[in-house]
Symmetry: C2
Subunit: 258 residues, 2 copies
């Protein structure tokens, strides 16, 4: 199985509420067409999820009943994005079917307590392409919590031990410094736990950004232990995703398990 | 718990592909608002499901790989309808969240092999309104099959033993003859197994239509065994659904368990 994450920053404009990047998503769908029969997809929530979720503190779980309307609202919004992704995939001949996170997992304390791979396996057995996504989910101790796309990536990697795992981002891979702020930032071709430690020292001045980047990178290092190859590619550069999923050389960061 | 089915003929124009009856659905959402905290909803697929499913023989299960594109397509279409229903409910202050059939059930031979109520219970515990729907689902022996909204109604009634079950149709209830073809058709106020037998004799000249009507009525008789009151009301007449869910007298057919 090949497991691909379409980052929320690639398929949406993360700065503008509910803005779908239709042509990018369509191009990426076309790049995935050759491997559709052995493919599982995860997509981020991008601007269909994060903006409203943050506004109403949904990442902290149930604090007041006034949040419930927004739990329903954000769930609806991310399903709207999921529908756009499904449409785009099907239009590009990828037979995509939706499996929301809560259809296969039970959540507790913002993590996956148990994961049931059968819903994905059933769709893969039919020759369909399962698609899951970042979502607001019921949580046993918090009431509800956020299940990121990356959390689903890890659960799927553990369950299916994929041949290849590709994270499709809006940068070429992991850099030694933030490439959007530092023109001299250097792409790290092979990323391991040592690289993570070095990064920590360099970027500690930006706790919010790095906090989230480190969390993601730690999860990628964990995921790399459950697949033959784990890599990050730039989804905004045409052809890179297709090369990555078909095992060809491509500009990327390969994540080396610790 | 109160369990309500919004029939596909009420929320869509069943004769026109993917035609949502927005104002009807909005009015019905408003009628459900007072009971939102104890409500579970099921909706039919209407013209978002039946037309394309029939065209590609999806009700017979997997016969050729050419159907797979349409399995994905019909699943996408019914999720589009589900999204419209969710939007309409949330706009009317019903905090609706989606639970697709395959998120709670495993299917075999076109029936439910096992049903897991926890996803619904978790949403009800939070004070949200779970919404499920008719869908194309993976099926252990058929590859895939159709899960009707009524099949989910029966599973939910068995699991939750609701106080009241309301089927919202485009007619006043069950008639002794087809009310759309016979001006003199009489509404059956209390419908039981004896009524079903009489109906069978009267309408056997229309096997296609009655086949489906009888199947539905047999299932309603089964459902009536698992709730205090099971009834059919006309969702096109303003106020009837609200009266029904709040236990007031209303023009309807009450289904009496056999």
């Amino acid at each position: 199985m090949k497991l691909v994450k379409l980052g929320g920053s690639v398929i949406t404009d993360k700065s503008k509420l509910k803005t779908f990047r239709s042509s990018s998503c369509s191009r990426l769908a076309g790049e995935l067409r050759p491997v559709r029969d052995v493919l599982t997809l995860v997509h981020g929530a991008g601007s269909y999820g994060h903006i409203e979720a943050k506004k109403h503190g949904l990442q902290n779980g149930l604090k007041s009943r006034a949040q419930l309307r927004h739990v329903a609202g954000v769930q609806r919004d991310v399903r709207e994005l999921n529908l756009r992704v499904l449409e785009t995939l099907i239009d590009n001949d990828v037979r995509a079917v939706s499996i929301p996170p809560a259809a296969s997992a039970i959540f507790d304390r913002g993590e996956i307590k148990s994961f049931e791979p059968d819903p994905f396996q059933a769709m893969l057995d039919l020759g369909l392409t399962p698609v899951t996504f970042g979502d607001v989910v019921p949580d046993e101790s918090m009431g509800f919590s956020i299940c990121s796309g990356d959390l689903m990536m890890e659960a799927l990697a553990r369950a299916f031990e994929p041949e290849i795992v590709v994270f499709c981002a809006d940068v070429d891979g992991v850099f030694d410094r933030d490439p959007k702020r530092n023109a001299g930032a250097r792409l790290i071709r092979e990323f391991d736990t040592a690289s993570l430690k070095n990064l920590k020292r360099t970027e500690s001045a930006h706790p919010d950004v790095t906090g989230s980047i480190y969390g993601k990178l730690e999860r990628m290092l964990a995921i790399a232990r459950h697949c033959e190859k784990c890599m990050i590619v730039n989804g905004n550069v045409p052809g890179r995703l297709q090369k990555a999923v078909s095992g060809r050389d491509v500009v990327s960061t390969v994540v080396i398990p610790g």
